[in-house]
Amino acid sequence: MTTQPLPKKFGPYGGQFVPETLMPALAELEAAYLQARSDPAFQAELDNLLQTYVGRPTPLTFARRLTEKLGGAQIYLKREDLAHSGAHKINNALGQALLAKRMGKRRIIAETGAGQHGVATATACALLGLECVVYMGTVDMARQAPNVFRMRLLGTEVRGVESGSKTLKDAINEAIRDWVTNVGDTYYLLGSALGPHPYPTMVRDFQSVIGRETRQQILDAAGSLPDSIVACVGGGSNAIGIFHEFVGDEGVDLIGVEAGGEGIASGKHAARFADPQIGRPGVLHGCYTYVMQDADGQIALTHSISAGLDYAAVGPEHTHLRELERAYYTSATDEEALAAFQTLCELEGIIPALESAHAVAEAIKRAPTLPKEQILIVNLSGRGDKDLDTVISVIA
């Protein structure tokens, strides 16, 4: 069995900036993950659930009408919106819930922004018979009410978080406080490729099934690798999940799309890489990465129409890939995401999550500039049912 410790950092980014109480817990988690990862029985159980419960592989859909309308690269959509519970989040939630069970932890805690990770965790816990508590900012609870109801239906206790900006960042603070307090019997099921080591690596590994399937599917459909892959980046788990498989393929452009909110100039956004005055290397939630902050190092309030992208830090591996110039990061505004949302509904009959609509917005900008023989894949990370209230209030 290989139990080589995993690298704690991606270049200088990542690490374990946590209270001492969590250091033994992170060591225990890493050891358990390494064991599970090299245990064929664990992989087989996860693969079986991904196939028979989640519905994997998710399809790769050729977006014919969108491609024709834009008149450039051929656009394909990786349909994570069709995964059970409505987004890619279930890939990681199931993997970690199985790991928690293997570690003998009966109580699961999680944070959620848009509610997709909360729903995925609640789903995995219902399936595996685990107790589940989800922390969610009260601002997010209001704008993603259907997901709050879903979690409760699935037997999860949703705890509203009133501190700070009452969004994802504060939900993570509260989940970490719970974990520090109940570290003996509780498993923290972190939902994105961020936080202290080993989470960024472990979450990436569980999400990299997206990229592995995509490679095979595009080879089957088009006979070649894609020229570009576009994914939205909040914490960055769907993006790293589809990028990881292609990092070694230098001909494949990897493009991450952050939340541009009301525009970079407005200062009301969540684009960590877009404005060097606000987005700078720092520490938030246990890892060293790009963090939106003021001059004094206080974490900045972020803004996005999409709760899932409304977060002040970005996964450390994205920061590293950007520094290596292996991946490129841009942003889409609320308005662009909403327009892309409608376009995808009308042209393809697919209602995307507002998060994923940011990636679609970039595809709409980019595809017309590319030759027709090129292939552009959008990771359609989730479906948009949860966002209907938000969209109705803006465009109706």
Binding site: G15, T21, P24, S163, T181, G297
Partner: protein
């Protein structure tokens, strides 16, 4: 004499050393300085001075609230350093430990911060989200300026970590009495005695215990086991409830020192 020596001396002369925590800038800048002065005058042996951070994930509701109020009032790392200078100028000689999260210090610049803190009259630093594993650079800077860099241990720390943390911690080692966040608890952990014995078995250096201590009885019980007693949230609460905040702080410290 280096700043850290003053901490060592304090532990030699005062057993147990009583160390209150207070958030700088709470409820406003001037009042926080008056509270610290009152604590010193009432017999605090050392003071832990909190640098506010927007996302204090090791803190319970009482200290979270105090740091939010301090930030709304315009508190910054720079003003915290100024506060230390001002307190020194007012004649307080007890050791000051600046307690703050790592991100504001990174934003200020670690080298600049350590230098300015030492110059202002601080004796050491406590950074709850910076375990020794990530602290190489700061450790070297503190050694250069003669500042203590105090690391924390938790009841769930296993033996290898206890050895490593006590070896690298300077000034003293900060034992967290319970796995959890800061804030008053009704009872002390039954396991505290065993935890302290496990640490004593591998280290002769001073140990101070904090988190969850709120009453004179608890302080006395901890004082019989450890070299130092740290109280934060209970002091902040006592000050909160009072109209005359410095007097309330003095009364609180005096009651704990008994």
């Amino acid at each position: 004499m280096k700043p850290i020596d003053k901490i060592t001396q304090t532990f030699e002369q005062n057993k147990p050393a009583f160390m209150p925590y207070f958030t700088l800038g709470y409820p406003d800048y001037e009042t926080s300085l008056a509270v610290v002065q009152a604590c010193a005058a009432a017999g605090a042996d050392m003071m832990e001075l909190g640098i506010p951070f927007s996302d204090p994930l090791a803190d319970g509701p009482t200290i979270q609230h105090s740091t939010q109020v301090a930030l709304q009032g315009g508190m910054t790392v720079e003003r915290c350093v100024t506060a230390v200078s001002t307190l020194r100028a007012s004649g307080i000689t007890i050791p000051f430990l600046l307690m703050g999260y790592i991100n504001p210090l990174l934003a200020y610049g670690l080298a600049r911060f350590v230098q300015d803190a030492a110059q202002a009259g601080a004796n050491g630093l406590i950074i709850p989200d910076l375990p020794p594993d990530e602290a190489g650079e700061l450790e070297a800077l503190c050694a250069e300026q003669g500042l203590a860099l105090v690391y924390l241990l938790s009841p769930n720390s296993f033996e290898e970590r206890i050895k490593m943390v006590t070896r690298r911690s300077t000034g003293f080692t900060y034992l967290v009495s319970v796995t959890g966040i800061t804030g008053a608890r009704t009872e002390l952990s039954q396991a505290l005695g065993g935890f302290i014995r496990r640490v004593r078995a591998v280290s002769q250096r001073p140990l101070a215990v904090g988190f969850g201590i709120s009453t004179p009885q608890q302080a006395q019980a901890v004082g019989e086991l450890a070299d130092g007693v740290i109280i934060g949230s209970a002091l902040v609460k006592a000050v909160d409830a009072a109209k005359d905040k410095p007097t309330a702080a003095a009364t609180f410290v005096a009651s704990m020192k008994k």
